[in-house]
Amino acid sequence: MTFTLDRRGFLRSAAATGGLMTLPGLVSMAQAQDITPGGTLRVALNITPSVLNPMLLRLNSEYLLAEMLYSSLTMLSPDMTAAPDLATEWSASADATEWRFTLREGVTFSNGEPLTSADVVASFTKLLDPETAAPGSRNLGPISEVVADGDFAVIIRTATPYADLPVALTYPTAKIVPASVIEADFDSLGQTPVGSGPFRLVEFIADDRAIVEKNPDYYVEGQPYLDRVEVRTFPDAAGAAAAMLAGEVDLLTEIQPTDFARIAAGEGIEGMRTPSGRFLDVVMDCTVAPFDNPKVREALSCCVDREAMVELVAEGYGTPGNDSPVNASYAYFSDAPLKQYDPEKSKALLAEAGYPDGIEIDLVASVKPDYRSAMAVVLREMAKPGGWTINVKTMDHPTYLDQVWKKGAFYVGYYNMQPTEGTIFNLLFTSEASWNETRWNNAEFDALVAKADATTDTAERSELYAEAQKLMREEVPALVPCFFDLLGARGQNVMGYEQNPRGANFALHKVWLEAGS
């Protein structure tokens, strides 16, 4: 038996297999009367993109550029489901270990070569090759094999069952490039992009600008609407914000919480705000004292006034967290009453754990982004009455990455939202997680996540993920005090831009500029 999967239940999944109704091309044609094609969109980035090779991207700014030049098998929708891109439809075996993706026909790369299954196989082989050292290749799931099934279909097998594969394949580095380029000179992609995306590169000057123009052969008819996109890069948020306020750019994809109100109030500017699963957490090494004692971790979790944290650290542009990285932006969020601020309970728990006089400890926070240290300072104050003396140590980002991250016992982490519960858990909290910084190594949690990964039944997955979230709330391998909204701004004439809560997808091919402005 084969079936098509979708994370949001049966109705949606039926639509996806019925497929044609949700194809972007048809949707766009339905709206065609309102859309005025043409024009140049100017986008500001606040982190300089420096890597062009699509498999080696690391930053949201690089994702934005690559998304315009390349295509993937699937595309991440703002509701965190997989939409067709180069793959028009897909299905899985009953145990979710073998997947068949049907490829779109008639797609050509910018070098004129037609896309076939050989290109997809070569791309994944390169991507998964440890020699390539592609960032985040582990986020693609336990892929064991990718083989062609005729010219226009591929079979992807996974070592263990993996129900989220179509969503995982939206990972920003999982781009499809021609097999010939991979064989001849893979490194040339660092200078000369060859892709099948909606735009083509005209000019790229790192630290200054990238200019792309419409790909006339793009496989979705009518798209992209824009003739040209100019990406202007600024070394930090202040420069990008200034350009937006001065009307020098039309779209700002990221804004610091402290700047948002001021920019959104600018003339001709619309602020954009979308709740997201992006979070700051306070990482505790669960293998060393004092955090090897669950009571100590629970004590600290009693010291967080979560609503106040949203107000003080995220300027109110966020949602309180409950010590699990999953919030309402995810499909399988399991709601629970918000943990209450109770410093007395913290004191009692510390006494029980053998610390009747409280705990004094250093908390490390990198200076990038600056709300990391803000959270550390706020936590220090909140935890004082609970018997904690937290000394905040701020340090510059390279030193933090080199000496503290994944090594330290107590520090502030900062993570993007991931497309699925499985990806965020397997990135940070399972024993085999790529970045297992808490060393929580909880067998029960591992089993729950593995089982949910392998399960295709929505109701059952919902239960398993709920259990996993409950376990994290109780055991507190890390404090997750608050989530940050995705904040951005657009000129009033910029239409069709939808913020994707994941923060790594932009869909600029769906954007148009309102005529007469």
Binding site: A308, V377, E381
Partner: protein, 277 residues
Amino acid sequence: MKTLRALLRNPQGAAGLALCALVMFAALFGPALAPKDPEAFNFGARFAGPSAEFPLGTDWYGRDLLSRILVGAQSTVLLALLATFIGTAAGALIGVVSGYLGGVVDEILMRLTDALMAIPSLLFALMILAALGSSALNAVLAIGIAFTPGMARIARSVTLQVRSFDYVAAAKARGESLAWIVGAEILPNTIAPVIVEGTIRVAFAIMTLATLSFLGLGAQPPAPEWGLMIAEARDHLFRSPWPVAVPGAAIAIVAIGFNLLGDGLRDVLNPRTGDHA
């Protein structure tokens, strides 16, 4: 005593002395004087203007600005004094030794100080901090090192005068060691001009220390260091002017105090009109 009386007759000196005494009092007893806990949040009073409860207003966490300034005086003023002391002591030692020994040693040391003085001092401090990492104490060290070449120059020129005096020749004739001659005969006689120069530099040290903290390379949050307070306040600049204006005024008052005192001392101790760095 004579100096002090002369200083009090000099209008600049008297005003400077008064301001500096006030500042030193705040720096030494600030924590005891602070009416509130400088780190305590007041959720209901964020961005408050001056009031009976918060005489200088509050910041974005509702922390009392007066208390933060008073407690921060320690890390700002005392550290600036320490930085100046390091630069002055190291510079005086190098200058005296160089001036006394003369010859090749002098030539090498002076060419080196020439080269180092050709680096703008903020840039020099930035480079040292890039190496040592960002912290308040490293900033102190960086400023001390950046001050050293200038002080060495001044100490050397004074030493060249002192060296020719009889008592130095006498000590040499007695066969005293180099360390004794420099320590007991020459250093004490170069101290007055060095102190004048040092006092003027305190003002500069305070401003540089605050600037380094402002650039994120000095004191780190949540320290109530004045420059850092302004840097942090930038995020909330358009919501309330007090978190910027209050530490800004504090820095200016201290710097004015030491500038006045330095100018006054210079008039009193060596009445040539010199330059200021």
